[in-house]
Subunit: 349 residues, 2 copies
DNA sequence: CTGAAAGCGCTTACAG
DNA sequence: CTGAAAGCGCTTACAG
């Protein structure tokens, strides 16, 4: 393994001090054009790349941001959602010449310590936290510590938090409204997400609010956990109970996939007998038969914008205002599972 | 933002030098039990976390590994495959108390420079490279530089490379054999992956070899690019040409999804009229109707094992032997698209 | 046995 | 204007 080239090597090659070489490479005006050119050429020839450790130690800046996923059961982390967020983060981080660090707590016993360490050790200048449970103390501690953090999602109880999210309540209302007004469905079932996460609560509340708005009296709510298996289990349970529904609103697409499978095996036709809608549109909803009508969550854009907000905090361009939330618009994507033609789209908002 | 606590602060609190505090925290035997306990307590109380920059600079080790994805069109990077690899990497990295850095070249103009910088700057101690094209010079340079690198996939022309992969040739042969011997399909079509990647070549060669083995005379090969759209386009093209096939072997599941859609719209029944198989099983193949018979690529395990191999190199536990390849077994997953019952499985290898 | 310097690589603030 | 020290935080090798 070749010994790495330091600034000192470059300086020696040109016959200047490493301080001068540093200034030359950063384009400092006090270095003559001639010296600057010589240093740059030597750096290129030697393949000099600044040591990130040396630079970080001196500048007190890691030029790195972390994606923190507190809840790291494989089921949760191994999801296309994170890939979308990560893609958005990478776009923003590349523009800032910063690295992206992925920090996930494989070890649940160590709790939040893993990512607290990332922040305290200054491995990253700031962090994006996503999928945090409402009562996750570590997130609260992190936010309260004043370290640059941007949350993805809605955290109404964390007043000081900077966050980026969507309006889950309204989006779910739009789905229900579609089922009621376009397809005449009124006996609706909602299968919730995890209710220790705000999205789970908000989507359920959107469902209930819409049911109220439209005067639906015959609705039911069953708790799920966002997994395909829990969507299947919820539908099985309801079928066994003998309850009859003409529409099912799943809190995400994974559960809708599980539900569709159970319905198909039970000989219940979708959308003829029952309309189905999901939420997320990260990839699955497009490939089932019928395709799943859903709300497209702009995860990549959330990741990108959250990261830009994070750099604002890190660079202190933004005064440390308390609690700023950026809300992104969502789009309802109409497919076959509700009774619309596959691949139809609602007009842009 | 609270000023970060340094070793000096901890030492001052106890009344020792920072050198002594350092030794106390690392459990060095020359520090008395009493002092050690006092330092540890002070560190806890002050919330001391070692600066990664200070430590990295001193120890010449970043305690971080990078996942490098050279070919970063969003279509390629935003794929569940990377999430699986990343999950495996995280597992191994956590066990070594190392960070995971994700480096993707959003900017194609800068070519391989982006990840060469990651390595040269010592931001990471080593890298996992995946999805590299056969003729990617940057990968060759990286491997040749002697920096710790483990490749995921097969790189027969890079003799010095350490790599982890599967046998794409044999796996594809097994799929073809299944179609021929179990379902009596003989007029097969293969839709290839990208042929500038070894997997694309190997899967095609596996198809051709199996066709030869079974004496199939009526086979065809169409080039695809692994995208859903290219799978659809390939099938449209073949349908338009009037060629008749009773089985289609797609080089991945995404293309199979696209192909299934076109077949359905054309009124061609799967598996009744034509058997379909894919490759990968990263998530899509399970949710279509019918489910797609495919080969399960153990991406998470590949990520985990590649990372363990990488730490071997970084720690020099392994002598720098030339060209070590680890081959993982794969499993054929039988679903409805070939004509088997959905959810059936081949016996473990 | 223990105290404190040296030095990892960098860049800025200071001295001349 | 320019040369070279100081110091970011850490840990090991050296001096006493």
């Amino acid at each position: 393994m070749s010994k790495s080239v330091t600034l000192k090597d470059v300086a020696a090659a040109v016959g200047v001090t490493s301080a001068a070489a540093s200034m030359a490479l950063s384009g400092h005006e006090r270095i003559s054009e001639k010296t600057r050119a010589a240093v740059k050429q030597a750096a290129d020839e030697l393949g000099y790349v600044p040591s990130s450790a040396g630079r970080a130690l001196r500048s007190q800046r890691a030029d790195a941001v972390a994606l923190i996923v507190p809840n790291s059961s494989t089921h949760v982390f191994g999801h296309l959602y994170f890939m979308h967020v990560l893609t958005g983060m990478s776009t923003a981080a590349n523009a800032h010449d910063a690295q992206v660090i992925v920090s996930t707590n494989a070890d649940t016993s160590s709790g939040g310590v893993a990512y607290e360490r990332v922040m305290r050790s200054r491995t990253a200048d700031g962090a994006i936290v996503t999928s945090a449970a409402i009562d996750d103390d570590h997130v609260q501690t992190l936010v309260a510590s004043g370290l640059p953090v941007v949350l993805i999602g809605n955290y109404p109880h964390l007043e000081r938090a900077v966050s980026v999210g969507i309006d889950d309540v309204t989006a779910t209302e739009r789905l229900v409204e579609h089922l009621v007004t376009v397809h005449g469905r009124r006996r609706l079932l909602h299968v919730t997400g995890t209710l220790d996460h705000q999205t789970g609560i908000d989507r359920r509340d959107g469902f209930l609010r819409a049911a109220d708005t439209h005067g639906l009296s015959d609705v039911a709510v069953v708790e799920g956990d966002l997994s395909e298996a829990s969507g299947a289990a919820a539908v099985e349970q309801v079928l066994a109970s003998g309850a009859e529904h003409d529409g099912i609103v799943f809190a995400n697409d994974d559960m809708a996939v599980g539900g569709l499978r159970v319905l198909r095996r039970a000989g219940i036709r979708v959308p003829d007998d029952v309309s189905v809608v999901g939420f997320d549109d990260f990839g699955l909803a497009r490939v089932t038969t019928p395709g799943i009508t859903t709300v497209r969550v702009p995860a990549e854009e959330m990741g990108r914008i959250a990261t830009e907000r994070l750099f604002d905090l890190v660079d202190r361009r933004t005064p440390s205002t308390t609690g700023q939330h950026t809300e992104l618009p969502v789009e309802v994507v109409l497919r076959g599972s509700c009774g619309c033609d596959d691949d139809a789209r609602s007009p842009a908002p």
